[in-house]
Homo-oligomer: 335 residues x 2
């Protein structure tokens, strides 16, 4: 492990980005050297001014773009990239980071298994990263951990695996406002179905988790199926961010399944809704031996995504250049 | 993934070795090309003769040593090595495997974190593997998975980890005879303490799990403590292999703990005894966020170790030459 702290650029200052900046400032082996966000309301503001009191102080000032952030000779090892969910939205941001010689850990959900949604962008990003001698990885807790990486690692002591079921239940009431909106809390069922058809709500990354699982197992999926259904509220529920009446949408029930030609199956089941009584994660592997793991009380979403991004920094710094996935870095772990 | 099956030498035909040979014969991407065991009772016997009826047939004949196994131009990619627990006992076997150009996946418990028990042997093995362009790894389910690798991966979505507790309870009655003996089932407490003092019983590998965990987290342990206590039977219990009266030893309660200078802690707790009512595994991580994982019903020991060794074959074949650990191969997973 390096003697000096690794220097980090925080790219994107939404809720996850701010949480990452805080985690960097608190980490003894990381140093925050720059922060970028395109929101004009943030430009030029001292980052410290909008962080909690107990966070170590920082003299970083928010820059509107990467060029400005790095212009006075700031050098850095890695960027934590937390902006959007789709690869086409973030490709130019990631290329700019690579061109500045920065390795990248990103929360972009599609980047978990980039060849699925955007194979040409993925190829271009891989080439760009190699050209500049840096590595990029996309991850988080979901996608990135509970329904894919953890399920793969859980399969390590089992052979002849016929089926994996991974389930996650999240109480959206415990999560940030944008996430409660993203799962449709407070909509009517009709509104939900309309927005779902336009892909304007729901969770991004479930099919990427499925693809990562399949690739990790060496399975070729002959058929896949994705379903997004509303989870309706049995009773009224009110959170800090939303009011849901009984019968309105409380959140999502999102599933993705895949089948191989020789009858093996993968099933991912994600429920994210306000008022979920028993949040938790569960992985069942039908293999030899069978494996059944549970997380007691669940793995807290936003904090876990932030921590995952932080913990991937040493892994991406040691990875060979290119666009990487959770399959080809060293063992993910806290640092 | 390679098109042709990988060719495997099974080195050692004790219970785990035979189980590995069976798993290789059953695996569509593996081919068993040789089997070695020094037991004169096995030499020259057709392996198929002592395998269950439902295992695909094999014309492999047991050879007394590696030279004889490979002498008629048999070439192989990897050896599964399942003989002894201590590095000095197996060093020359591993060197011979490397010199024959074979990558090695071994169940030798001390090899999980080889620098702990035998740093000089580890250095020599690393040099030998590099010289011959092959890789070696030691793993299994315990050590190798439940109390170390899984605990590390479980920590990936958490930062500021202060403490990890990993506990495993195994019902030794469900395990092979040698393991029931190894945990002292049927001894008096005095006999147990005598043999324990001579290190003639107990589990090998718990301190290696502790060292792997610490290294994986980047922690330097200032102090460690290992304890081996007998677990006494409350009531008489009889297995296929042993009779235990009430008050006699049913098995072991083995713990290993470590503390860093800045107050972080690791605690491993292993109970292996006949009649354990609730076998299972549990990992608790005090970090941000906290993580609490349980395996429902436990992860079956011998089968899981066999499967783990099989599943490490693709990982060790793609690893750079040298003596490797679970920290520096790709994501462990079923294949």
């Amino acid at each position: 492990m390096s003697e000096r702290p690794w220097r980090v650029v925080q790219f994107g200052l939404g809720p996850i980005g701010v949480a990452c900046a805080i985690a960097v400032l608190r980490h003894p082996k990381l140093e925050l050297v720059a922060a970028v966000d395109q929101d004009p309301g943030l430009e030029g503001r001292a980052l410290g001014a909008f962080l909690p009191m107990d966070v170590p102080s920082s003299d970083v000032v928010v820059a509107p773009d990467l060029g400005e952030a790095l212009e006075e000779g700031v050098s850095a090892d890695v960027a934590i990239h937390t902006t959007q969910s789709r690869i086409p939205q973030v490709r130019s941001q990631l290329e700019a980071l690579c061109q500045s010689g920065l390795n990248v850990v990103s929360s972009c959900e599609e980047l978990l298994w980039p060849r699925l949604a955007a194979p040409q962008d993925a190829e271009a990003l891989d080439a760009c990263a190699r050209e500049h001698g840096v590595s990029i990885i996309g991850s988080g807790v979901n996608p990135g951990f509970v329904l894919d990486t953890l399920a793969l690692v859980a399969s390590a002591p089992s052979v002849d695996v016929k089926r994996i079921d991974a389930r996650r239940v999240v109480d959206a009431a415990s999560r940030r406002g944008p996430l409660q909106k993203k799962v449709g809390a407070g909509l009517s069922e009709a509104e939900f179905r309309g927005l779902a058809a336009e892909k304007r709500l729901g969770h991004v990354g479930l099919v990427e988790s499925l693809a990562l699982l399949a690739a990790g197992l060496g399975w070729s999926l002959e058929r896949t199926e994705e379903k997004l259904e509303p989870k309706l509220a049995d009773a009224a529920i009110k959170t800090e961010h939303v009011d849901v009446s009984a019968g309105q949408v409380a959140g999502i029930h999102h599933t993705a399944s895949g089948w191989t030609a020789d009858g093996r199956e993968l099933h991912l089941d994600l429920q994210m809704y306000v008022g979920a009584a028993e949040p938790g994660d569960e992985i069942e592997i039908a293999g030899n031996p069978p494996i059944h793991l549970k997380s007691v009380g669940g793995i807290a979403g936003d904090t876990a995504t932030t921590s995952m991004l932080i913990n991937l920094i040493p892994r991406i710094l040691e990875a060979p250049p290119g666009l990487r996935t959770m399959l080809d870095i060293g063992l993910p772990r806290s640092f």
